[in-house]
């Protein structure tokens, strides 16, 4: 019977649960789902990681290629993030070009990477004006169950911190490139951004780390990204308004979580 009720009146179903101070999956409002991180399991990629936040699963793979820098930034390499939400991960998505949601999330991730400055593009320079690295950072979502950005950022750091680039010798006189495959070096990761997603339900209840169902039913979503002790991105695309206290509360709580996630990433790497 509960299942029928849920399918007919999903919002009421949630309200009934929330009135008792608990969520349908058994969590309290301020509890996160367990996080898993596994690094380096895909060796066709130069760096890879799989992050699981509850059911949500994201694989991040980094492929490095060589290219010529732009004339206006001769010392800058490239970092190209793309999030794919294939039809495999949820019945919501159809085959074909990326959905709007995938595009929005890709841009958000690109902004987070840029704002947090976790990678200094100058580090990717091999020879000024001639040769730089281009890192293709591809995220593939395997299971879409809410808070995808959180999982992406965790897997991103896992992949970045384990990625190793070969040593490249460049001879400008002959325009000759030689790659020493044996000698590989880590990429410098300058900071550890950690993202936390909140959902606002019925304009008043704030749920941490929402599942897909909760994201669908809620009236607003807030993503807060912390880089060590600094706030580096707050993303709130419309939805129900939050008071200043609520917002500060969310920011405070995501700050607390930063340390935990950092420790998790360090242990995995």
């Amino acid at each position: 019977m509960a299942e029928q009720y849920k399918s007919l009146h999903p919002i009421k179903y949630y309200r009934d649960y929330l009135a008792h101070g608990i969520r349908p999956d058994g969590r309290e409002f301020n509890k996160f789902r367990p996080i898993l991180l596994n690094v380096g399991s895909i060796d066709t990629a130069d760096g890879s990681a799989i992050a699981k936040v509850g059911n949500t699963t994201v694989v991040c793979g980094i492929k490095a290629e060589l290219c010529k820098p732009k004339p206006d930034a001769p010392k800058c390499g490239f970092l190209v993030p793309n999030l794919e939400l294939p039809p495999l991960c949820s019945p919501k998505f159809r085959p074909g070009p990326p959905s709007d949601q995938a595009q929005v999330l890709t841009q958000l991730i690109a902004d987070i990477i840029e704002n947090s400055k976790c990678i200094d593009l100058n580090d990717l320079c091999i020879f000024q004006d001639k040769l730089v690295w281009c890192l293709f950072v591809d995220f593939v979502c395997l299971d879409f169950d809410g808070s995808v950005v959180d999982a992406c950022i965790v897997s991103l750091l896992g992949a970045l911190k384990t990625a190793k680039l070969p040593f490249v010798e460049y001879d400008p006189a002959l325009d000759n490139i030689q790659v020493n495959m044996e000698e590989r070096k880590h990429i410098k990761v300058h900071s550890t951004p950690v993202s936390t997603t909140f959902a606002v339900f019925d304009d008043k209840v704030i749920l941490k780390d929402p599942t897909q169902e909760e994201e669908n039913l809620c009236s607003g979503i807030l993503t807060v990204v912390f880089k060590d002790d600094e706030l580096c991105c707050v993303h709130k695309p419309g939805g129900s308004p939050l008071t200043q206290e609520e917002l500060s509360q969310c920011i405070e709580e995501s700050k607390e979580r930063t340390l935990f996630i950092k420790r998790l990433i360090d242990t995995a790497v």
Partner: protein, 280 residues
């Protein structure tokens, strides 16, 4: 090429660094010579030995059925969804359809794959559909379509056969009516060497003839276990009739060897489900 405005594009031209590798790598021909001489495959399997297979269902919580398969380094994930209306079809049909999509993750191969399905992936999707069509009872869901998506996370050869085996398992997990359990195995041929379940390297060895008119190629078959039927057969390259007959015999046997693994897993799965239900 037109610019893809829906993704973040990198610089126009990039090259994989392995093109400029310093250490002279063994050519594929030399590798084949080595294998011929020692009679050993690079992962010390015998020629007719299948890799160890690891399977798991229920990996995608949002899907009706899903399966993950690992043949050592080859990792494929498949999900199956509830029947839905066939898009763009005005007439009524008594039979349902299946839709298959096979995709490599961008980082799964040695060379980076693009996001858009290329011709190889399209071809593999078609083969997958062919293989699975004959095992799904399509008359049970007239006018509807069951979606099957496969994603290769790590390619180390035999991806397509792994995807078909996993898709069969995912369909069973989803409770889609099926005529039979389906298993699929690949085989690579180069001269007198047959490689069951080839790795990526072995597949490339088998891709080109070493001298004119020698046997070479890759063969994939999918088999319905109980009815002893081959539901799909795909061959590329140039293989003599005798060789192909031999190959089919071997593939057939290897397909049978995989069946108990799938059966055992499914039985365990059913028992677990029934216990869960009782607990409730």
């Amino acid at each position: 090429m037109p610019v893809d405005h829906k993704r973040i594009n990198g610089p126009d031209e990039t090259y994989p660094y392995s093109l400029y590798a310093k250490t002279n790598k063994q050519s594929l021909n030399e590798k084949h010579e080595d294998i011929k001489r020692t009679g050993q495959r690079s992962d010390s399997r015998t020629f007719l030995e299948h890799r160890k297979i690891f399977i798991k269902t229920g990996v995608v919580s949002q899907a009706k059925g899903s399966a993950y398969i690992e043949l050592e380094n080859t990792k494929v994930i498949v999900s199956v969804f509830d029947p839905r209306e066939i898009p763009n079809r005005p007439d009524y049909s008594l039979k349902g359809e299946i839709y298959c999509e096979f995709k490599y993750a961008p980082f799964s191969c040695n060379k980076r794959r693009l996001h858009i399905q290329d011709t190889e992936e399209k071809q593999y999707s078609a083969i997958m559909k062919q293989a699975l069509e004959s095992t799904v009872c399509s008359h049970e869901f007239p006018n509807f379509q069951v979606d099957i998506y496969a994603m290769v996370l790590h390619n180390d050869g035999s991806c397509l056969s792994a995807a078909i085996t996993a898709a069969g398992l995912a369909l069973a997990h989803a409770g889609v009516p099926m005529y039979d359990i389906i298993t699929s195995v690949s085989l690579g041929i180069q001269q007198d060497n047959l490689f069951i379940d080839p790795t990526n390297e072995e597949q490339s060895i088998c891709l080109y003839p070493r001298t004119l008119d020698t046997d070479h190629g890759n063969v994939i078959i999918s088999k319905l276990h109980m009815h002893n039927q081959i539901s799909q057969f795909y061959q590329s390259g140039n293989i003599s009739l005798e060789k192909i007959n031999e190959a089919i015999g071997i593939l057939d046997k290897t397909c049978e060897e995989l069946v108990p693994v799938i059966q055992k897993y499914l039985v365990k799965h059913v028992i677990r489900n029934l216990k869960d239900r009782e607990a409730k």
